[in-house]
């Protein structure tokens, strides 16, 4: 279907199942990840639909409270660990990184394949946990409920999360070494595309943070299985210790989720403004700053858990500090647009969506970072809205921007630009309809993780659930037009966007080993001034 009549590329060089399952090609591994992540996304979306359906009425009448607990837990587990963490690094990162570096593959191709198998195994454990009864502790697994009170598949889900963590570690390790040691001749650090800087910063977080949640989940599992007392006050333990250890990873994890999409945004904004990213080195360093500072703020999730108020003060201050590099990026992207030759193709529309939604999400993070405010809005829908703006409005939109940008390179085909812009619009509108009311609900005091609420909140909840339906349609569209493009899409050339970057200087889809001749780099990443501007 795809490339029988075109030259040898990584897709048609061998089409047997075995050549896919035993591949060492980073591009094929990226597609393998895309398949599993998309399945996880659909699974998570189904659980979300269950949640939003229940919440259309104030009474808990659709499902029991236990079942509702399972719905939001499994929505969170599926989306956090199996979608948000891997979606950009393991798919777009795997595909594009060696190409952007002018390399033939990542440093450890076999480890790369292993990371995918580990991911699949972890996902399998988790899905089994879901279908044999589910988990109801919340994706945060707090004891004492998860160790002592819950009758659900905590151990099984814990094993799934534990195993999946190693997939993340292997990816991060691979990317770190690849970026350090496999850059093309002439490709100095400050000539790197910003997506590479973002992936590097992400890799640091993956390598440093993930092991901590691994050991924490292991401690939780052992406590649950053998009745130990790490987190049990009756035996001298402290449940807040779990929260410290859990969030030591899980906060930096949100930077794993957002840094790569931010990198994508830099790439797409530069290309579709026909301009160098404003303040390149500031954007590059801001990625590192976010990665490092991101490790210093975790206890802002524990503000009302009973930590010392002095400690809370420290963490609140540090949380404000970590917002600064994110703001730097946002300002610099905006400045990139200024006096650029804006080319309104689909990837750019998704980028605009990102900019608006990430802005709101980021700003509301500042609200929650303030101790005085967080006392009131912690565990309300305000927080839920905040993180969905970042995670969905930011990370997922960034992923779709990147997917739309790289689709021609990955498949050699163009998709319908009109439908893609429509999808972006639907997602943007649906998203705001779903989550903006939740800010209000949270402010008014509606708690999260409850399947019933006071009747006066119903209008906002119905608005939110309707928005979710629109959002769902918005996400369905790409599945349709992308698959259609594989069969009927116009052939994309090597560089349909006239972009800079080594990945665009080779054929689409690329050769199995990427470049016919080793590229040598002599200029910076975004020399758009030297490229002709295409009038769309």
């Amino acid at each position: 279907m795809l490339a029988t009549e075109s030259p040898v590329n990584y897709l048609n060089v061998n089409t047997s199942v075995a050549s896919w399952l035993f591949t060492k090609d980073h591009k094929r591994i990226a597609i393998l990840y895309m398949v599993v992540v998309t399945c996880a996304f659909i699974l998570g979306a189904i659980f979300a639909a269950g949640v939003r359906l229940e919440l259309t009425t104030p009474e808990g009448d659709l499902v029991s409270s236990d079942t509702y607990n399972k719905l939001f837990t499994m929505h969170g587990v599926a989306m956090v660990f199996f979608v948000l963490i891997p979606v950009v690094p393991a798919i777009l990162g795997n595909f594009a990184l060696p190409l952007m570096l002018g390399a033939k593959d990542v440093a450890f191709p076999k480890l790369n394949l292993l990371s995918w198998y580990v991911f699949v195994i972890g996902f399998t454990f988790t899905v089994v946990a879901m279908i044999t009864g589910g988990v109801d502790t919340g994706w945060t697994f707090y004891p004492p409920y998860s160790t002592d009170g819950s009758n659900s598949n905590v151990l099984l889900a814990g094993i799934g999360v534990f195993v999946t963590g190693f997939s993340s570690i292997l990816t991060g390790l691979n990317f770190m070494v690849t970026i350090h040691r496999m850059r093309a001749p002439g490709l100095t650090w400050f000539r790197l595309p910003l997506f590479v800087w973002a992936l590097y910063a992400t890799s640091l977080v993956m390598v440093l943070g993930t092991p901590v949640i691994a050991i924490t989940v292991a401690m939780l599992a052992v406590e649950r299985a053998f009745g130990l007392g790490f987190f049990d006050p009756r035996l001298g333990g402290d449940p807040v210790l779990f929260q410290h250890l859990f969030w030591f990873y899980s906060h930096p994890a949100v930077y794993i989720m957002i840094l790569p999409p931010m990198g994508v945004i830099s790439e797409v904004i530069a290309c579709f403004s026909r301009k160098n990213v404003f303040g390149y080195s500031f954007v590059a360093f801001s990625s590192l700053a976010i990665a490092i500072f991101g490790f210093l703020v975790w206890a802002h999730h524990l503000f009302v858990a009973g930590i010392s108020p002095y400690s809370a003060l420290v963490f609140s201050f540090l949380t404000y500090a970590v917002a600064i590099p994110s703001a730097v990026k946002t300002f610099n992207w905006t400045a990139t647009l200024y006096r650029g030759a804006i080319w309104l193709k689909a990837p750019m529309i998704w980028v605009f969506g990102f900019l608006g939604l990430f802005l709101i999400g980021g700003l509301t993070g500042l609200f929650t970072a303030a101790l005085g405010i967080d006392i009131h809005i912690h565990d309300t829908y305000f927080v839920v809205a905040h993180f969905h703006y970042i995670m969905v409005g930011g990370a997922i939109m960034g992923y779709f921007a990147g997917l739309h940008y790289y689709w021609p390179k990955i498949t050699g085909r163009m998709y319908s630009d009109y439908l893609a812009k429509l999808a972006a619009l639907l997602v943007f509108v649906g998203f705001n309809l779903t989550f903006f009311p939740q800010f209000i609900l949270g402010y008014l005091g509606m708690p999260r993780r409850y399947h019933m609420y006071p009747p006066e909140f119903q209008v906002l909840n119905v608005l939110s659930s309707s928005g979710a339906a629109v959002l769902g349609i918005g996400y369905l569209l790409p599945m349709i037009y992308f698959i259609y493009s594989l069969f009927k899409g116009e052939k994309a050339g090597a560089n349909p966007w006239l972009a800079t970057g080594l990945e665009w200087q080779t054929q689409s889809p690329p050769l199995p080993h990427n470049f016919p001749v080793q590229p040598i780099v002599t200029e910076g990443a975004y020399e758009y001034s030297k490229r002709e501007i295409k009038v769309a």
């Binding site: 044999t132 009864g133 589910g134 160790t147 002592d148 009170g149 819950s150 009758n151 659900s152 598949n153 905590v154 151990l155 099984l156 350090h180 440093l208 901590v212 649950r224 299985a225 053998f226 009745g227 006050p233 009756r234 035996l235 001298g236 333990g237 402290d238 807040v240 410290h244 030591f248 490790f295 210093l296 975790w298 206890a299 524990l302 858990a305 009973g306 930590i307 010392s308 108020p309 002095y310 400690s311 420290v314 963490f315």
Partner: protein, 125 residues
Amino acid sequence: MSGHVSPKSTYYAVFGALMVLTAITVAVAFLHLGTLNFPVALGIAIFKATLVILFFMHVKYSSRLTKMIVGMAFFFLAILLLLTLTDYGSRGWYASDRGSATAGTQVTVTGPDRATRPAPAAEAK
């Protein structure tokens, strides 16, 4: 590939130092140093680890990048330990008439003992 080849004497010397330091660790453990016992034991262990890292693991002769990575590992471990201690170390500093909102300086064991504790919840099937 060209890695630095250390003379065997270096390895034997480091081994000797490690043996001596182990003996010192044990001996000092029996001395009455009060609250200093712990930091001293830790300090000696850190010194021993440093010898292993520099000489057995060749970090002394490795690139700056390798040295940075080693430093990074311990830096972030320190962050985990120290920042968490800002919580545990300052609990109980603030107490108002209305009581304290913190989880307490430590957890007193007043609950039922193991024999009367309910068994851990069974996993759903």
